[in-house]
Structures are given as structure tokens and as C-alpha cells.
Symmetry: D3
Subunit: 281 residues, 6 copies
Amino acid sequence: VSERRRTRRLAELRAPEIVDAVGPGATLVLPVGAVEQHGPHLPLATDLLIADAVCDQLVAARGDELDLWLLPPLAVSRSNEHAWAPGTLWLGPTTLLAVLDDLGRSLARLPARRLLFVNGHGGNSALLAVACRELRLAHGLLTFLAHPFVPPDQGGAPPPDLDGDGELGCGIHAGLDETSMVLALRPDLVDLGAARRAVPEALAANRHVRFGGPVTFGWTSQDLGLDGVIGDPTGATAARGTTLLALAVAALGAACEEIARFELGHAGLASTTEHTSPTGD
Amino acid sequence: VSERRRTRRLAELRAPEIVDAVGPGATLVLPVGAVEQHGPHLPLATDLLIADAVCDQLVAARGDELDLWLLPPLAVSRSNEHAWAPGTLWLGPTTLLAVLDDLGRSLARLPARRLLFVNGHGGNSALLAVACRELRLAHGLLTFLAHPFVPPDQGGAPPPDLDGDGELGCGIHAGLDETSMVLALRPDLVDLGAARRAVPEALAANRHVRFGGPVTFGWTSQDLGLDGVIGDPTGATAARGTTLLALAVAALGAACEEIARFELGHAGLASTTEHTSPTGD
Amino acid sequence: VSERRRTRRLAELRAPEIVDAVGPGATLVLPVGAVEQHGPHLPLATDLLIADAVCDQLVAARGDELDLWLLPPLAVSRSNEHAWAPGTLWLGPTTLLAVLDDLGRSLARLPARRLLFVNGHGGNSALLAVACRELRLAHGLLTFLAHPFVPPDQGGAPPPDLDGDGELGCGIHAGLDETSMVLALRPDLVDLGAARRAVPEALAANRHVRFGGPVTFGWTSQDLGLDGVIGDPTGATAARGTTLLALAVAALGAACEEIARFELGHAGLASTTEHTSPTGD
Amino acid sequence: VSERRRTRRLAELRAPEIVDAVGPGATLVLPVGAVEQHGPHLPLATDLLIADAVCDQLVAARGDELDLWLLPPLAVSRSNEHAWAPGTLWLGPTTLLAVLDDLGRSLARLPARRLLFVNGHGGNSALLAVACRELRLAHGLLTFLAHPFVPPDQGGAPPPDLDGDGELGCGIHAGLDETSMVLALRPDLVDLGAARRAVPEALAANRHVRFGGPVTFGWTSQDLGLDGVIGDPTGATAARGTTLLALAVAALGAACEEIARFELGHAGLASTTEHTSPTGD
Amino acid sequence: VSERRRTRRLAELRAPEIVDAVGPGATLVLPVGAVEQHGPHLPLATDLLIADAVCDQLVAARGDELDLWLLPPLAVSRSNEHAWAPGTLWLGPTTLLAVLDDLGRSLARLPARRLLFVNGHGGNSALLAVACRELRLAHGLLTFLAHPFVPPDQGGAPPPDLDGDGELGCGIHAGLDETSMVLALRPDLVDLGAARRAVPEALAANRHVRFGGPVTFGWTSQDLGLDGVIGDPTGATAARGTTLLALAVAALGAACEEIARFELGHAGLASTTEHTSPTGD
Amino acid sequence: VSERRRTRRLAELRAPEIVDAVGPGATLVLPVGAVEQHGPHLPLATDLLIADAVCDQLVAARGDELDLWLLPPLAVSRSNEHAWAPGTLWLGPTTLLAVLDDLGRSLARLPARRLLFVNGHGGNSALLAVACRELRLAHGLLTFLAHPFVPPDQGGAPPPDLDGDGELGCGIHAGLDETSMVLALRPDLVDLGAARRAVPEALAANRHVRFGGPVTFGWTSQDLGLDGVIGDPTGATAARGTTLLALAVAALGAACEEIARFELGHAGLASTTEHTSPTGD
């Protein structure tokens, strides 16, 4: 029998090892991908590839130090904004909430108390944020949601802008960054010749109702473009992708440092300074 | 019989008036409040008061111009982060999604196509964002989600900072701004003498896992403080509240201008400029 | 800071006040309204207006004496018998049961044990009766369902008959009494000139299958009339409405006296007289 | 092969016969029973026995004339007010609504359009009334709900009073009438010697909150008595039971005459007389 | 009052008898039938008739010896493979799982711990197998699923082959055996003259994808034949039916002997012989 | 850009390729794994490893010939019989049915009509069989369920018996065959020294209530053994595993030949020979 590679994958452990290996200080890392149309140039699995790669690299780089444990990825998630496109696989929101609740209930049997969703698909962000609270309440877990990059349609800042703003803040699906990362990871799956700029310029010109703006709106990718792209992939390069992936792994590693120290409850983050109002009646 | 006041409340219309009054250009405005503990100094209805007031003022100021129609407020919503506190009323996430779906199905019978949630309770933001897409897909509505202020725990920028940052970006519940607004609206319901500073300073010191940071986390208000406050209400004033409410109404009015013009689909926001990738293989 | 008006609205309390204010002897009063077509002469909000007004008056008149606490109204409820009409808002039965269960679970955190539904919409009666038992079982509450008037379609006696029977027992929707009450409350919202008699005379002639008869039947308002009215509003007057509202408040007040004394369980209403059967074998 | 008895049981038909046999004029009759504690003297199946017997006799007496078709009984239903008692079988309300919806969907494939619930268990009444509307809306059926006797806890009149009012209007479970009917149907299952008077006298003295009163309340049989009886079975006789059963069959037969003629929609019961309001403005 | 027949029907017991009668050693027997098209020659109730008859005979023959208690049959179940045929009544899978869960929860109040489904409808087998585990987990019951004959579409061996294999292993619906059993039980309901051979010969010729083969497949009876029969009923006789029923009762009786002794848990079937691996590293 | 490897993974396709690539003749292959305790010697991912490996090899060997397309594996499934063990991840049955329904709805957008579940976890078999019919009905797919080996607890024959019957037909979880296959695939994950024989001999001695017997029963692995093993892994070898995997791939390949030809409906498997019954009355 060969020697087992040192593993940081939960599912590679044997049952009696688990309680010791995955202790109260561990953080469980769940890559959340998607299988959905990504325009004419990227594979359906784009978000899954990125989430998987980032998590693999994260756990390889920092797993022992930060006691990270990788869960099997959630490959299919909330992609119904692309439901119109053959090949898109999606779970409805109540199905996905039920899946996450079942996972939370299962994981709460472990000594580990921290669960981190690393979400590769912007369309999941709101629902995963909902789940973070539900799993905290229902199962007592400490739950966290991070992204390889904070998607602009969730109100976050755009990813590190390396070479301009040709996407007008709308590079949220199959655009410059995603395309670059897949070029870095699986260039054989990219047909860059088919890539077209598809920036919703009228939308980008809005002050309120736009990606990353103060007003969220419901949309499908069919609403926004002819071929399902939202962004401008034409300038994508593997080099940019490699840089973005490294930045993502570094940022997630830094986040995991905080997560490992994060506590809630009486011994945790409760405010300790309370001053009496000087204006009380 | 007295003359009816000119109404912009949908529920005050009579059935045969509706199809003409609430036409394809109308925007339906749904105030979303909450009934939940707001610390020792604010009433349970704080979020409901604010959402109601902002919507009333918005519709009074801009309703005729922008064809806005007010729906009865959703008084009780997703407040389970305060479920531990007697007096908090809350709907579970699947219940609330079902309520919103039923409302969407009902409203889709109207000629109006635009539905705007004006959400006074930060704890609803993620779930309402989920609903925006679901109602777009299931019922064909154009859906929008705005806040009197974008709550920092949803990744948005903090509200206009008028006098400093004593809350360290954590004024998300019963803090300076909410307290000021209720002082402006219903001073009789505020006991400012009971207000205490309750800023989770350790949390605020985080770079990643904090309100408005790149990592979302699951929490209850019990996790974060002893009396359910997250922020520092001690400096609240009615004057500040009045200013904030006016800013919110103005911002929502500007948003409604965009919403009134907003279209999706072929005649809508689809990108019109597509360039061939120069680097295609 | 101004002095708070003495409040009997739960949502106007501050969190630390609640446990003392809303004690074991309190009765929580939930107005249940509806937003649904009410023919050509009445506003959509008719049932909500009436439920709200009756509860307001009830609590104003008897709240301190009987320890009544008003909850925010449930504005939208089970109106799918009017689903065909644009403007009708409705929750499906499982959604509404879930809403009521969530409310019951929330309210069971209070020391108060009594919850009274004051239901302004006849179409809710059966479902609220279902919920009464469910909330008793699931959350241990003492639950009650009352109406401003017992609707004839629920098998009850008609409301006090003040001036004849022109509706043949069928005045269940937008008829004489509802119209009169809205005339008393919001005359500006009534277009009495549009009111038409719409009495289903063939139905009224039935002995079994009729409103208030021994056989209940499923119906929509589209099934029964051309414009959604079931009754004869033509003789409605504000004076009659004022009388009816006063009668309703008085009857509910008397009911609340009983409710305040009502107990279940060993110290409650269990029969105390048990006689042996003289005919036992 | 023997000759088939002329059947009025749907499930005894062979598939190709069905479309002709169960035509548009037919009424489908579903006996709804219960299996639940019925005190020390009656069997669990009491409500099922009565519903079955009444339907059998109804169909035998009037089936050919009125084109009635018997469905297999629903033996287990909403008995959770007796859930505390071993032997009680019950479906939760959402389960039972789902069962009824599935049945409605199945039955809507038949040419028959009328479905009559004959409900032997008072605890089902509200939920079956809910289902009547839902099945009308979802499946287009004409739905009806009748009882062997209208239970007082549903607001109906008491059954024909043959010999006094010793139960004070509270004979709703295992009382005089149910016991008499089981004595008539299956005397071997009754232990009349164990029968005890169990009348909740304090409850009966209420004007509002009582069985058949204007205020419905949530209860379990454990709340109301020591042995699960609500009523006074001690005077029950088979003769009375025989009389009651005959009255029920006669009343249901008369109801089925109306049901057979009952129509909804434009050619149905819509009011035909509409008068202009003389008081319109 | 007449003497009660000695009963083995749970629903004929009176409440106080139950705890003693249905003790920890008892097995509860639930006949599961179906109401669904059975071709031109058999009644809709075929599966219900067979399940009922087999259970009745089983309990009559072995009930006292093996402490068996008969529950009211589940008449309608998972028949959606015949949903296309008017007269078929069916519950969807989640409805049926909910019904079974509610029954399990109810039955778990009894001292009895063993529940046996005797399933007359092959289309239920997979779902009842799902329920066996769910009820074990949720309610602690010992659950069992048996069939009057193991249907070939569930991978079991065919029933005792008495006279050949004209059905090619495909006699799963309204074929030789079912027809024979109904001829034995209710010959008046069979129209043997309408019986036709309907054997899916191409399917039977498969090695993998066939009834009883290693690959299960989804099908409706409409997919497989013109009149809903799958098998060859033409040779059916009452004598064969009588033999099959007697064999089924005998086999179920033998199964119930094992069930009565069956235990799970520490004192149960846990393996007691554990040997160390001679090949461990 | 490098040349893409010829792919048979659906998620590696780009959107515009899909409709042509995955045509009406294609079969979609979904590996269904599990993450659950597998005793002291096997990793949690055992079933997932096996399902993945078998499908990979199947598609590599026969994919082009038979037009097979691999879907991302379902890693977590119905493992609640091991819910007691930390590390087991599981979906409840209604969650899993919802996931499968969502997948079916998504896949039905493709031209492909055939969906094959290759199920590595015996505990899923019944539920996947339920889903086969549901997806056929709801989405019109041709659905199939196969196993690397037919698990004895599902009534199938045991896997090819290569060296005796030391497991008495009970090698269903972490036994000889599973252990051998993981030894072949990932020997580093196996601790054969920890393997112990755990054969439930009393159960195996049953004629009726046993794995693969005519009576199915509900169980958890805690019910059956001390360490979660059911079988005897002690004699496992990589060579046996390699043989078993090859046999599985061969058998699945042969099954896929049939699946590729399989049709339902009028042009499909409907019986074509119908004979008149000679014994009709």
C-alpha cells in the first residue's frame, strides 16, 4: 500500500481520523462553481474552473498554516439568469437553500466551526449571503462568503484594474478577467477568436441602476446582450489571468487569517466600549 | 360624498380605474420594513417607520411626474438575526421568498411592469436581491431594489458622512443614522437617554471580515453586542435625521428617473457595440 | 425629546419595555385585511380599512382595560377568489399558512399568550381557522378568530339587519354593509354612483348550496357576477356604516373580555362534571 | 365470469368505461373520515364509519337518479387536535392540502366536474373549505363540502335536536350523536359503559368564544377534557343513531339535487338583476 | 350492546385499549393500494383489492400468533405512470413522502415499533423503500416493505411461475397474475373478453434495460402500450389467482415471523464476529 | 492558444457548440457519488471515486462510439443512513428530488434526450429510481439508472463472485468489492490494516428480511455495526478492484449500447403483438 499524500481534502480522510484532523480551529472551504453559458469563447464550466483552481491553490499555499479543509465543489448552483441557454444547469433558489442547509446540518457534526464559501459565480452572491445567516442560526456555524474577486453586480469594488476600464464596470460575465483566468488555467477551452465586446453601454451610463450601483435590478443575460457576454473579453491574456489568480489566492489567504481568528459571541466580537449618551434625557 | 384626494396609493383605487391609472409606464413602490428589536432607545418599528416615511415623501414629491404608485408596506420581513429578542417578528427566508413570489404574480396582472423595493432593513438586502431575479424570470417584471441608504453590511458605501466616523463603518443597526431619522419622524418613540455606544471595534479593525468588507459573514445581533445595537447612536439628532431623509428621498427620486426609462430586452440595454477580437486564433 | 404618546402598538415599544408591557395577561390583536377588487364603487383596500379601523377603535376604547396590543396589520392575504382582477394582491394558502406560522413562532417569545385575528376579509376565514389550531399546537398560543361581522359565507348569522333583506343573505362582498362602512370611514374613496345591485338570486334561492348554507362551495367572484360585487350596495349610507362599526367594536370588546379570561388546559375549561352512564353494560 | 353488480364506485370501473360512465353531469362523492381517539367508549374509526355509511346509503338511495359516484374514502385526515393520543393518525395541514390538490388534479381528467366532500370529522371542516376554493381555481372543478351534520364548532346549527340540550351545544366529539350513530352501525365497537359526560360547561357559558360562537378558537382535545370526549354520550341509543343517519342521508340527497343543477360562470349563478343606485353622485 | 368481534384492526379499538393491545411486540400492517387504469379488462382498484385481500387473509391467518394489526389501507398512491388515463388517482412523490412521514410520526406514539408496508402497486416500490429509511431515522420505527409478489420492475424474481413464461418477464401491470387474482377475488369486475396480450417484446429482448434488469428506466404506461396493459392477461384464471393469493399470504406470514424477531441496534443484528485483517500494513 | 483536447465533458464545451455536439442521439452520463463514512479503512469519498472512475473510463472507452457526454458528478447525495458519523455529508430526500428535478429541467433544454445516472452509492438507488419516472413525466427525458454493480440491498444479484461468499451477501458498504476498487484507484487512501470483518450474520441468515431479500427494511449503518462497515474488506486486493472496475465499465458500455437504441412511445417499445383472449366471456 502506498503512502497517502498529505491531504487537505475532507473527503479523502477516513472516518476515525476526522474528529482529530478537522478540529475546532479548522476552516472548511467550499468552492462554489457554476455550469452555465459563458458566451462563444468560454466553456460552461468557467466559474467552476476558477473557484476550484483558486481553492486548490489557496489550500496548497496556506492549508497547513491556517488549518483549511477543502470540500468537494458545488458544481451546479444558481444560474437561472442563463436558463435560456442550452447547457446551463441551475438550481432554483429554494432548492439551493435546501442544499446549503443540508450541508450545514451535515458539517455541524464536525468539531470544525468555520465554513467558507468561495464563490466563483456572481449570480450566487445574494443567495449565499442569505445562507450565511441561515446556517449560523440553524446550525451554529461561523459562516463566510468570499469571492475570487468581488463581483461589481454585488456592490463591491471592481477587481484590481490592471490596464484600463474598457468594460465600464460591466465586466461581470465572460469578460476580461474571467477570460484571462481561463486562459491561464485551461487555454485549450478558450476560443478567443470568437470573443466579442458586449458592454451594455446605456446601462453603464446609469448612475443608480447599474452593476455595482446603489440600485440592484433583476436581469437575465438574455436581457442584456445577444450572445450572453457582459463585458469585453477581447483583450484577455493568460498573463493577466495568472496575475488575477495570484491576487485572488493572496487575498483569500489574508481573509482566511482573519477567519481563523474570528469569533462571535461573548468571547468574540461584542463591543467592549460603551459610553453613556451625553444627551440622554 | 366627498371628493377623493388625488391618490398615488394603489389600494385606494377602485377596480375599473386600475388598468388606466397604473399603466405600462408606472413604477410600483413597495416599502419593506421590519419589526425587530432596535436596542434600548428605538422602537421595534424603526425600519418600517423609515421605509414608510421615505416612500411617502418620495411619492408625494415625484409621484405624478414619475408615475409612482405606492403599495401597502411589507411590515414584517427577514429579521431572524434578531430572533432572540422578544418582540421581533420575522419571516423565514423561504416564507419571504414565497410572499414575494405571490406578490410578483399578483402584480404581473397589472399593465405596470416596474416594481421597486424600498428596503428599510439591511437584513433583507440579500434576500430581496434574490427575489429581484426570481420575479424577473417568473413573472416578467422589471424589478429594482433600493435602500434609503445602502447598508454597509451589503458592501455598499456608507451613507453620506456628515460629521465623522465614530462608528468605524459599523453603524448598521440602531446607530447614528437610524436613530437620527426616527428622532426626525417620531421623537416620542426614542429614549435617547438609553442609547449606548456599541461599536464592535475588533470587527471594525478587520480588513476582510467586516461590514462592507469583501468577506460577508453570518451573524445575529446577539453575537455582536449585549443589547442589540450595532453602532453609536449617542450623537443622534433630529436635524441630522431630517437631512438624511431628504437625501434619501432625493436619491430615490433620481433613481426612479432612471427606473422609469429602464428597459431590458431587445429594445433595451443590450450592448450595441461589438468589436472583433484582434487576438483571436 | 417629546413625550411618547401612550401606545398600545407593539411595534412602537422599545425592546427592554416589552417583557413588562406585554405580559401574560395581554391579548395581541392582529388586523387582517385584504387588497382586492371590490367592484366599481369601492377601493381595493376596503377590507384592510375596515379591519384597521375596527381594531384601532377597539384598542382605543378597551385597550387599557383589557390589556390589548395592536400588531401591524396583515394587509395582503388570501384573495385568490379575486385573482382574475388586476390590482388584487394575494398569497396562496401555503404561503399564508407559513406567514402565520412564522408570526406565531415570533410572538410565542413574548410573555403574552393570547393572539386574536380580527379578520376583515371573508375569504380568509377558513384558512385562519386552520391556523388557529396549528399555532395552538406548534407554539402553545391561545388563538382566536373574530370578524367585524361574521360573514354569511362562513355559516354565521348575517350582521344585524337594520333595514331589510334586499341582499337575500348574499351581501358578502362590496355589498350594503361593506359599502356603508367605507362610506363612514373614507367617503372620498367610494363612487356610489357606480354601485350596482349584484345579487346571485338563483344561488340565494338554494336551500343547501348557498352562502351561509349547510353546503360550502368553491367559487371565484368571476363565477358569480360580472363586476365582482356580491350584494346590493345601492342603499349604503355612512350612517349605517357608523352604526355597524360601533356594533362591531362593541361586539369585539365583549369578545375580548371573554378572551382575557379564557384558559385551556387543566386549570382551564376542562369539563368538571362527569356522570357515569346509567346504561353502561 | 359472474355478472358485475351494478356499481357506483369509481374504482370498480374498468378504464374504457369511465369516460362514458362518469360524464359531465356526474357528482363525485369523497367520504372523508378520520382515525383518532374518540374517548373510552368509541372506536378510533368513528368518523370514518359514519362518513362511509352515510355515503354508501346516499349513493345506494340516490346514486342512479343523481348520477353520484363514490370515491375510496380518505380514511386519515386532519386530526392533530388529538395528536396527543396514541392511535390517532393525522396529516398536517400542508400535507392534506397537497393530497387534496393531487386528487383534484387527478379527478379533473374525468368528464365529471362536481366533487363533493362528505366530511365525517369536524376537525377537517376549515381545511376542506380552503381546498374547495383551491381546487376550483387550480383545476376548474365545482367543489362542495357537506357534513353528515354541520358541526357546531364550525358555526353551524346543531343537528336536529331530538331529546334536549344536555350537551349545551358542545356535543362535538364522541358525544350523544356520534355515539348513537356508531351504536346503530357497529354496536360491537361501542363500550357504552365507559361513556362519561364531559361537557365543558364554562366554555358553553361563553357568549363569544364557544363552539358555534362568533369567535373561533384553537384547541386540542387535551385542552378540553381528561379523556378526549367533548359532549355527553351517556344517553346515546342505536335508535337515535338510526334516525340521525336517515336524516343525514336525506339532507345530503337534497343537497345533491341542488349540486347536480349547480353551475358557475356566465351560464350559471351570476346575478341577472342589476339596478342603478338611486343615490349615486 | 353486542359483543365486539375480536378485532385486529387498529381503528376498531377504543382509545384506552390501545396501549395494552398494540404493544412493543406488535407489527402494524399497512396495505398500500392504488386506483389507476388497469387496461380494458380490470378495474381501477385492482392493486387495492389485492393488497387488501392479502392483508386481510394474512391477519386472519396469523394475526394472533404474530401480533399483527391492520391499518386502514392507503388507497391512492404513486400512480403517475398512469396519469394520462382518466380515472387514475395519484399522489406526487413529495406528497406521498409527506403522507408517509405524517403516518410514521403518528404511529410512533404507539408502543408498537414495527411497521410493514404491504404494497400492491409496483409503481410505489422505490418510493416506499425511500420512506423505510426516512421513517427509521425520523421516528425510530422499524420499517419493512413487502409485496404480494416482488414486481419484476423492481429487480426481484418473478412470482412463482406456474405455467410458462408467455409474458417474457414483463407481466407487471394487468397481466396474467394480477388478472388471475382479481378473478379470484372479484370476478364480477373482470371483463376477460376485453383482455389482450400486450407484451413489449423489444423491451423484453433487452439484456440491460428491461423490467428486472440491471438498468432501471423511467416510463409511463402510455410509453409502453396502446391500452395500458403490460403483460398477457389472456390466460388468467381464478384458480391461478387463488393459488397466487395463498402463496402470497404464506410468504408474507413467513416474512412476518422474521419481522417479529427482527431487531436493530446494539441488541440487534450488529455483526458479532470481527476478525483482524491478515493483510493490514 | 493550445488546441483543446477532444472533450466528452459537457461543461468543457462552449455555448454555441452545444446544440450540434450534444444532439438527439447523445446520452448524458451523470456520476452520482457520496461523501460518507466508509469505516476505518476507506475514505469518505469512496463512492464518488468509484462512480467518477467508472464513468471516466466508460466515456473514454465508448464515448465517441455511443455519443456519451459526461456531466459534473453529483458528489453529495442521500447518505443519511450514515448521518450519525462526523464527515458524512447528505441531502434529505426532498432536497435531492428537487436537485434532480432542477437538473432534469435544465438538461431538457438540450437536444439530447437520454440521461443516465451511474450511481456509486447504494443508498441512492431507490430515490434515483423515483427520479427516473419523475423526470420522464416532468421533462420528457428518457432516464436510466445503472450501478457499477447492482447493490444487493436493492434486490439485485451480487456482483460477479470471484472468490467465495465470505460476506454472506452482505458486502454492501466498505466491504470486499468497494475496498478492492479503492485499492485499485487510490491505494494511498486505504488503511487496510484497520479493516475488520463486519458481517451481520444474523441478518444474513434471514430468508426474507435481508439485503437482496424480498422484504426491504429501513436501517442506518449505526443499527448494523459498530464501525460503520457492512461486509468483509479484509481480503480486498487492488487486483480484484481492477477486475471489478473493468467488468463494471464493460457492463455499462453494453448497457449504453441498449440505451442508445432505446425509445419510448409510439415508435418505440410498445408491444406490437396483441392476441384476442380465447377465454373472453
